[in-house]
Point group: C2
Chain length 224, copies 2
Amino acid sequence: MGHTWLGLMARTPRNTLSADLIVRTALELMEAKGTDAFSLRGVAGELGVGPMALYTYFRNKDDLYDAVRDHLMGLLPAVPSDAPWPDQVRAVCRSLRLLMLQHPCLAQLLAGRPLSGHETARVAEGLLGVLRAAGFDAETAARTHTTLFTYVLGSTSWEIQMAAERRDPEAWRRLRTSMESLSARDFPSVVELAPELARTTGGDEQFDYGLDLLLAGLQLRTPS
Amino acid sequence: MGHTWLGLMARTPRNTLSADLIVRTALELMEAKGTDAFSLRGVAGELGVGPMALYTYFRNKDDLYDAVRDHLMGLLPAVPSDAPWPDQVRAVCRSLRLLMLQHPCLAQLLAGRPLSGHETARVAEGLLGVLRAAGFDAETAARTHTTLFTYVLGSTSWEIQMAAERRDPEAWRRLRTSMESLSARDFPSVVELAPELARTTGGDEQFDYGLDLLLAGLQLRTPS
DNA sequence: ACCTGAACACCGTTCAAGT
DNA sequence: ACCTGAACACCGTTCAAGT
């Protein structure tokens, strides 16, 4: 299996496999075929090895998921150092959102697994450092970090989900008809605001709107 | 298959199946074994029918997911009518969070599928109605609705995820050691705030903290 | 250590058929 | 309409074995 004429191997020769190569191949497949269609067997097939070859480098599928997530988190830019703290916070949140939009699988990788790994800690470090330098106490800094992180995660996951749905014509048609079937008597606000709701399911403006609400609330508690 | 002595059927006799019975059985299984372990074959087995029997009532697995989600959303209480609008908004967000905590599968059902169905529209209607009655314009009401919804979804999903991880001793141990292995030189804030971060990964206080930030920011934009 | 190959216990879904 | 049974094309993971 895997031999062609002249004895060329269709599979990768021995000792060319590595954790990094597997992670990059897994990421490619997730972005090409979607996170749900991703499988260990698919990665192994792409690399020309048996499924069990991957278990030399990763304990199981979740372990590979964590490695891909950490690989992506490593791509996050550093926090800008020369700016007022609200702008620094904005920059961190925006760059995390942008990374999620560029790599939609990251949303599922962050939501479905607990945080661990150095790259992920680096992100927390950046945000916590900004908040501490701004003068917030330990408890407020921690609470604010968790709030901002979950807001970015929730809003961007939703945005990605909706964008994927819009690309599937069948699902999009069913969503439209289900919206249009709502009676204006029972759902007056939903029917009236349907165009606005459709417009606000994603985009930079919508993300910044919620982020600005959080920052405005936070600035009311500014210590200095 | 399914016959016992005396001819008693181990499977449900004909015409006792219904969409509602399937939804309730699916929900039970999701909550007993976890959402990930859920399968159509499992539901069919629990009901004593073949896997294909379910396809009479649901087009596919996603269709059943949507039905379970709508069933759960139907359990949400109505918006309190005699209260200032910030309290009404708080009530809607808190009751959605409570429902998600009581039925952890709801988090995945909301995050993984697009919104559709009357029960889900009912929730949007309640929140939008409150915001419109408070005097916000169409665009602001829609943006605020999406912001609040994604905040509740993100923060509560995260809370549920972390609580599940804490229950798994193996995963919990690995998360502790990965936290403790971080050097105080490279991650000063994370190491210093480790106890606060652990405390703020969930709970009513953490949820209300973020919700109050949003509401404080929103009240700065109050029209009247 | 690194990788194979067969096997186990599963999946969702299609298709043809029975009542 | 309602449900069965066999089959298809998959999964993740274990286990024993080879180099």
